[in-house]
């Protein structure tokens, strides 16, 4: 009887997660394939074989992302020329897969566990680090792919140990780290999961995973000879402003370590407190001038309170941790604490919110377990008020994300309308072959002429509570 009820709660959690994915997927399907960071991917795919696309990535300097391009190539070839529906449909499916994997790892078995699901998913979806994983097309969002790999890693670690799980773990790590650099976090997740007692992946497999990481570093930096990104590649936030590459080189060219340290600390703070954003202390700056935006207040208060609840929960469990007595809640909080600083290392060169999306994912899961504990009863007098503020805050951020996707549809359409301006602003001249011009025209028509107009909402000022900055 108890098992049946537990199964029912778990299924309801899946239904809820799927419904959230369907809502967001519907809005995603209204966003055409974007021009920036995306159109050139299409022209790079055209007329080249899969291996050619992959091998070209092996000698791409600071970036080593062969599987990212491979995935784009596969979807491109399968699309049969229907790029818009193929790429946005793929992103919607990725989102569904991610939410299903997340719910699967929560192992919802009780009414209290189910009750915390809406808030947990609101944190996941409403998190500022998550926005870049859904708003951007690229044309396949590799950050979203990595989130799936992270959630997949936990699911494998939680599974019943078989040799197939071990093989899948190695395959997952290889795919993740060859997609983007932060895919290396998958190794950290497997290792942390093993340490806290998830033994779906064997010790032998963990050694193999570690060997894969060693081979990655040796291959990338010794054999291929790749380098870390330089200061002169892009603008980056520092203090209260964004510095352009020249300024960055001038200030940190001789010794970039303080800048890297700043970015790492900023990245950690960004996840925990929703400030700074992109390395810029926007909220502090606006408070100092007396004009913080309502959405900034919502973001910072919600994140600070959620982090406080989580830290209080973690502090209450330290005696158990010392005795190595872990339940799911402990395990996820510890995995989050492991992933957070390691993820921040990937933001050392420049801090961008979406880089921290894996840490954001585990932040949401850890918060879910902290909420679950809060639901089971708290003796703190202010707990009900804090719970209400947190729940309302994340609900606003959840709704804001949906409105954000609507706005994104409009901005991508307008981006294509200004194609000529975009082409003129590129660092190198854009010369398209006749076939590439056909692709361009197709994407342009999709975006400007054929894409459905996603209705924008007019909420009478409530929009000011929503964060549209990502």
């Amino acid at each position: 009887m108890h098992n049946n009820l537990g199964l029912r709660y778990h299924r309801l959690a899946y239904v809820y997660a799927s419904a959230v994915a369907v809502i967001m997927g519907t809005l995603l399907l209204g966003i055409p394939v974007q021009l920036s960071d995306s159109f050139t991917e299409f022209t790079a795919m055209h007329g080249r074989g899969l291996w050619e696309v992959i091998s070209a990535e092996f000698y791409n300097g600071a970036y080593f992302r062969p599987f990212r391009r491979a995935l784009i190539k596969i979807v491109y070839d399968l699309s049969g020329g229907h790029y818009y529906i193929a790429f946005r449909g793929f992103q919607a499916l990725e989102l569904l897969l991610l939410l299903v994997l997340v719910v699967r790892m929560l192992r919802v078995r009780t009414a209290a566990a189910l009750a915390a699901v809406p808030l947990g998913l609101a944190v996941l979806v409403g998190m500022h680090t998550f926005a870049g994983a859904v708003r951007e097309g690229l044309p396949i969002n590799h950050f979203l792919t990595i989130l799936i790999c992270c959630a997949g890693a936990v699911n494998l670690a939680q599974a019943k140990r078989t040799w197939l799980i071990d093989v899948a773990a190695v395959a997952l790590l290889v795919a993740a780290m060859m997609t983007i650099e932060s895919g290396l976090l998958v190794w950290a997740i497997f290792a942390a999961a093993y340490i806290v007692g998830y033994r779906g992946v064997s010790r032998g497999a963990l050694i193999a995973l570690t060997a894969c990481v060693a081979i990655y570093f040796a291959g990338r930096f010794v054999i291929i000879g790749g380098a870390a990104p330089g200061l002169n590649e892009r603008s980056a936030g520092f203090g209260f402003a964004v510095l352009n590459p020249d300024e960055l080189v001038r200030r940190f060219g001789s010794n970039p370590l303080p800048f890297y340290a700043y970015n790492i600390v900023s990245a950690v703070a960004c996840v925990l407190f929703a400030e700074p954003r992109g390395g810029v202390w926007m909220f502090v700056r606006e408070v100092a001038t007396g004009r913080p935006e309502p959405w900034q207040i919502v973001n910072v208060i919600t994140s600070v309170l959620t982090t406080a609840v989580m830290l209080r929960f973690a502090a209450s469990r330290i005696p158990k941790w010392k005795a190595r007595d872990f339940d799911d809640a402990d395990r996820f909080v510890i995995i989050f604490l492991v992933v957070l600083p390691l993820n921040a290392l990937f933001a050392a060169a420049y801090e961008k919110d979406v880089i921290m999306s894996p840490a954001g994912l585990f932040y949401a899961v850890a918060a879910y377990f902290a909420f679950r504990a809060l639901l089971s009863g708290s003796t703190v007098a202010i707990a009900p008020a804090v719970a209400l503020i947190i729940a309302i805050g994340w609900s606003i951020r959840f709704v804001g994300m949906q409105d954000n996707l609507r706005a994104r549809a409009l901005s991508v359409q307008d981006e294509w309308a200004y194609y000529d301006d975009w082409a003129r602003e590129q660092p190198t001249d854009v010369h398209l072959t006749a076939e590439e011009e056909v692709i361009r025209q197709h994407l342009y028509d999709d975006a400007v002429l054929r894409a459905p107009r996603v209705p924008q909402l007019s909420l009478g000022g409530i929009e000011r509570l929503f964060d549209f900055t990502q």
Binding site: I23, I396, A417, D420, Q456, L457, L459
Partner: protein, 146 residues
């Protein structure tokens, strides 16, 4: 405690989901104004919508009605290029020129640009002297350039 933590996110989800369903049946209760003419699209800075309406056959040189609430509380009749100038969308002024909005009352467009968008003056082949430092009120600018 349970109600406090469960009701807000569940309600938020329901509101979003129900609105999306209602929208699929044509409900537009919370919809922002959707530009129906090239001039309205230009006034709002919606470049893709402007091009869409031109592709559907609207004349980019024709004076069109702009509903109240788009530029300000008043209704206006402006050509698309004039609307883009009054709405202060410089890129759209250039885009409209590239998209066939070439027949316009040059003196009026320059007058509006001086009042509202001096950056557009070079695009209208006009010197940028005597331009307002700060944009004039919309109604006053249109009245002055009548």
């Amino acid at each position: 405690m349970t109600k406090r933590m469960v009701v807000p996110p569940a309600a938020a989800f329901l509101v979003v989901a129900l609105y999306l369903v209602a929208e699929s049946f044509g409900f537009r209760g919370l919809a922002a104004v959707e530009p129906g003419t090239v001039s309205e699209a230009a006034a709002m800075g919606h470049a893709a919508r402007a091009l869409q309406l031109i592709a559907q056959g609207q004349n980019p040189n024709e004076a069109q009605r702009i509903a109240p609430g788009i530029l300000d509380a008043n209704e206006y009749t402006l050509r698309p290029l004039e609307a883009a100038v009054v709405g202060r969308h410089i890129e759209l002024v250039r885009l409209l020129q590239r998209s066939g909005a070439a027949k316009f009352d040059m003196a009026r467009a320059i007058c509006l640009a001086r009042a509202r968008l001096p950056e557009a003056l070079p695009d209208l082949n006009a010197p940028s002297t005597d331009a307002s430092d700060s944009p004039m009120e919309i109604a006053a600018a249109i009245e002055r350039c009548r």
